[in-house]
């Protein structure tokens, strides 16, 4: 259970405060309600490139990092298809430094062309390091456009291609900033050894002068229901054949999300899962195999992925996966099997609340999705799932015509 207090500034910035006086530290987490799903299809990778620019100096502060390091603070950020999240941890006595830095870059960036030029290069190297120069690194660049035909989840957050990053201009940067980086499009969580009064006073001082802007209603193309099985075969110089299967499922806060999550856990979370027992231990077909869900805010994917043992064809592995899926439809999940994955989920949840920063992030995600109370409802939602519900969603989601299959062939 995470306790919190809440207020809204005149410019629409929502602030949540979580007091924990057992630590000498504070965490400041700011989420901007913009992700790669909000990009123009011809300018993909921009939300993430923009995140890099947020560290390139703001209007009144030439360097973001140095002043924070000087007061003993640390920071980082990440971009997802749904959101962009920035976070700081620092000694609570120096809390004001975080407010000074974050408010200045929310007010205005430096828009220095030199910063854009360098960060384009850095992001291109990140693209290569993570997606091109790694075995199987490009899987998501291929799987996303196979599974999504309309919705912007069809491109990866890093971008569809390197040229999109190369072509970004300062005008793009300005536009993006004044469209999305608005106080009324952000949520701030301040957690740790702080008081409500202190956070109120600092928020008013540093953030309230930032003018609100006009937010655009998000109107993303909906992904139509998939009606036939999709298939793609690709090859690369990797040591083992690999299989990927993606099934459409509900978004993070939609009905039946947890039942889908548990279905994937039962299939392939841990060493006692159905896939592990059948495909690795009994049949020796796979070297590794997992199932998980993408947990995106808009309708997401249930993913099955595995590397096959040397000499096993992908088709053979695919057929064996299908057998396990058929089996779960015929012999639905048992109470004890569900209890197991519920206990794992419950335990993961409790552990996620050990770190102060994680608590702050959990709160920010919940608030961003429209209801801060969700942060304390996870446990009840976990417990509410029944074997009947899991059986029902299994029938609906694990259909061949709801599936995109990618064969990743190893060549020498």
């Amino acid at each position: 259970m995470i306790s919190y207090e809440h207020f809204v500034l005149n410019n629409g910035l929502k602030v949540y405060v979580h007091q924990d006086h057992s630590t000498p530290f504070a965490a400041v987490n700011i989420i901007y309600n913009v992700g790669s799903r909000d990009e123009d299809e011809q300018k993909t990778g921009f939300a993430h490139l923009f995140e890099h620019l947020m560290f390139g100096g703001s209007k009144n502060i030439p360097s973001y990092d140095t002043p924070l390091q000087k007061v003993g603070g640390e920071n980082n950020a990440f971009t997802s298809p749904d959101i962009t999240n920035y976070y700081i941890t620092l000694p609570a006595v120096n809390l004001e430094t975080a407010f000074w830095l974050e408010s200045d870059r929310m007010m205005s960036l430096s828009f220095d062309p030199r910063v854009l030029e360098v960060q384009q290069k850095v992001v291109i190297e990140e693209f290569k390091q993570r997606y091109l120069n790694q075995p199987y690194g490009d899987v998501w660049l291929k799987l996303r456009p196979l599974a999504y035909k309309n919705h912007p989840y069809k491109w990866a957050t890093i971008g569809k291609e390197i040229s999109h990053i190369e072509n970004a201009t300062l005008d793009d940067v300005r536009n993006f900033f004044y469209t999305h980086y608005l106080p009324n499009n952000a949520i701030m969580v301040v957690a740790g050894n702080v008081t409500l009064e202190q956070v109120k006073q600092l928020s008013k001082k540093w953030f309230e002068p930032i003018p609100a802007g006009k937010t655009k209603a998000r109107n993303l193309p909906k992904e139509p229901v998939q009606t036939e099985a999709r298939f793609l075969e690709t090859e690369a110089k990797v040591p083992l054949n690999a299989l990927y299967k993606a099934y459409h499922m509900p978004g993070r806060h939609e009905e039946h999300f947890h039942a889908h999550d548990f279905l994937s856990d039962i299939l392939g979370r841990s060493k006692s899962s159905r896939f592990y027992n059948k495909l690795i231990k009994e049949q020796h077909l796979f070297n590794s195999v997992n199932a998980y869900v993408t947990s995106s805010l808009d309708p997401g994917l249930l993913i099955i992925q595995g590397n096959l043992n040397q000499g096993v064809s992908i088709a053979e592995g695919d057929a064996a996966v299908q057998d396990v899926l058929d089996e779960i439809l015929l012999n639905p999940v048992q109470e004890e099997e569900l209890l197991k994955v519920k206990n794992q989920a419950e335990s993961t949840l409790v552990f996620s609340e050990v770190e102060l920063l994680n608590r702050a992030m959990n709160m920010a995600f919940a608030a961003n999705s429209g209801n801060i109370d969700l942060v304390n409802q996870e446990s009840a939602k976990i417990q509410a799932v029944t074997v009947e519900e899991v059986a029902e969603v299994a029938k609906n989601v694990l259909r061949k015509d709801n599936c995109s299959t990618l064969y990743y062939q190893a060549v020498n």
Binding site: P24, P67, Q69, E74, F99, W100, K121, V122, K128, Q310
Partner: protein, 428 residues
């Protein structure tokens, strides 16, 4: 009054940190139990640690690794699947960790389940049977995982680097090769298990929300069996003064980036130069604002990241600089790294930079003591490396004491021309 946003708010430096203390109890059979009771969440981490890491299996490289990984693959009473199912059912997470020095069994779970979990934990440690079938399966998985890893430039670069720093025979220098995995056999594992794990001396670390009830449980389960007298004394390897200054290139034709590793053998945490070297390292490449990061990433855009590290272990240590860069800029990056080192050898670090480096290091240190698990890990280092118990209490003052001339001296003493080994995987 208009707010002047160009002026930074006042700040305070951290001069001390209160680290939750550790409680140590010696069980009836002599096993030490170390406890850190911190935090509000009802969770715990139990770690049982043995002298059973890579250091101890020479010349049968890989035996210690496979022994640790096989512990949960079958006991007299439970199959591999049953054991996994058991832990999963309690929502507990297990790790069978294998390091250069020690190996350990780690269980994370809700504190309320400790009493249910303990019998199985003890069974794994003392009654493991190493089924041949499971071993074959694990060897097969490991061989193929290795194949995938060998396609990762960074993985290969790290392997080659360690081998060249310590020598191929040294337990810190060798890594698991395909032929090591293939030659693993059940008899060797059982022998190692009997000598290093089963009823052997160990240390127990318990952290999280812990009450007397949990301590009692550990005493009951772990305190009553007889600890065998280990008949193998700690193996003493000849002290090598092996420290290569080779320049090694592993060509990868299709690579779009090169993995660069540069560095040398260094020392343990107890060395008198340890803190001075930490400051040199931090300034050069230890944090986001470091000189290498500013130069190679933030000015030139050659890489997504570059960093340097002081890596100390129980018996030795090394210093490493690592980055993945655009292939065309490989040599230029190496040249720039030497330029930055040269600067540190000839010019004193300014007061303002030194202040930033120190405050950042101290903040990061203090901020890394927030959870019971982080705190007990610090004590594990102290105990595992025979450091004074107040090592981390004095950490901040030791960092504060280092001066700019000392950093310059370190740069000349340890990073002098020709003293660094260079590994490139990719191309030049």
């Amino acid at each position: 009054m208009i707010l002047d946003r160009t002026i930074s708010p006042n700040f305070k430096t951290i001069d001390e940190v209160n680290i939750a203390s550790i409680q140590t109890i010696v069980l009836a059979n002599g096993i030490p139990l170390h406890i850190v009771n911190v935090g509000e969440q009802p969770v715990m981490k139990l770690e049982v640690s043995f002298e059973a890491g890579g250091w101890f299996d020479y010349p049968n490289n890989g035996v210690s690794h496979f022994t640790a990984k096989m512990l949960s693959e079958g006991t007299a009473n439970h199959s591999s699947s049953k054991i996994s199912e058991f832990f999963d059912l309690f929502g507990a997470f297990t790790e069978f960790g294998h390091g250069l020095d020690r190996a350990n069994v780690v269980v994370y779970g809700l504190t309320k389940h400790l009493s249910s979990l303990l019998p199985m934990i003890l069974e794994i440690i003392n009654e493991s049977v190493f089924p041949q079938r499971e071993l074959d399966n694990l060897k097969n998985i490991s061989l193929q995982t290795l194949k995938v890893n060998l396609e990762k430039n960074a993985f290969v670069a790290n392997q080659v680097f360690r081998k060249d720093v310590f020598g191929a025979q040294h337990p810190y220098g060798n890594s698991l090769r395909a032929e090591d995995i293939q030659s693993i056999n059940r008899d060797d594992l059982i022998k190692f298990y009997n000598n290093r794990w089963k009823n052997q001396p160990c240390r127990i670390f318990l952290s999280g929300k812990i009450s007397d009830a949990e301590i009692k449980l550990i005493e009951t389960f772990f305190g009553n069996h007889q600890i065998a007298k280990s008949d193998i004394s700690s193996k003493v390897l000849p002290e090598t003064d092996y420290n290569s200054q080779d320049k090694i290139l592993v060509e990868k034709e299709n690579a779009v980036q090169s993995s660069i590793r540069m560095g040398r053998k260094l020392f343990k945490r107890s060395h008198p130069d340890y803190f001075k070297m930490l400051l040199l390292n931090e300034t050069l490449g230890g944090y986001f604002g470091s000189r290498l990061m500013k130069n190679i990433r933030e000015e030139k855009g050659f890489t997504y990241g570059i960093s340097s590290n002081v890596a100390p272990f129980a018996r030795d240590g090394y210093f490493i600089i690592g980055t993945d860069v655009k292939k065309e800029f490989t040599q230029q990056t190496i040249d720039e790294i030497y330029k930055e080192i040269k600067k540190l050898q000839t010019e004193l670090v300014s007061e303002s930079e030194l202040e930033t480096v120190k405050n950042y290091m101290i903040g990061a240190f203090a901020g890394s003591l927030n959870t019971p698990f982080e705190i007990i890990d610090r004590y594990k280092v102290i105990l595992g490396e025979d450091l004074p118990l107040d090592f981390y209490q004095n950490y901040i003052s030791n960092i504060r004491q280092v001066s700019a001339p000392e950093i310059l001296e370190m740069a000349n003493q340890y990073l002098s021309e020709g003293s660094l080994l260079e590994v490139v995987v990719g191309g030049k």
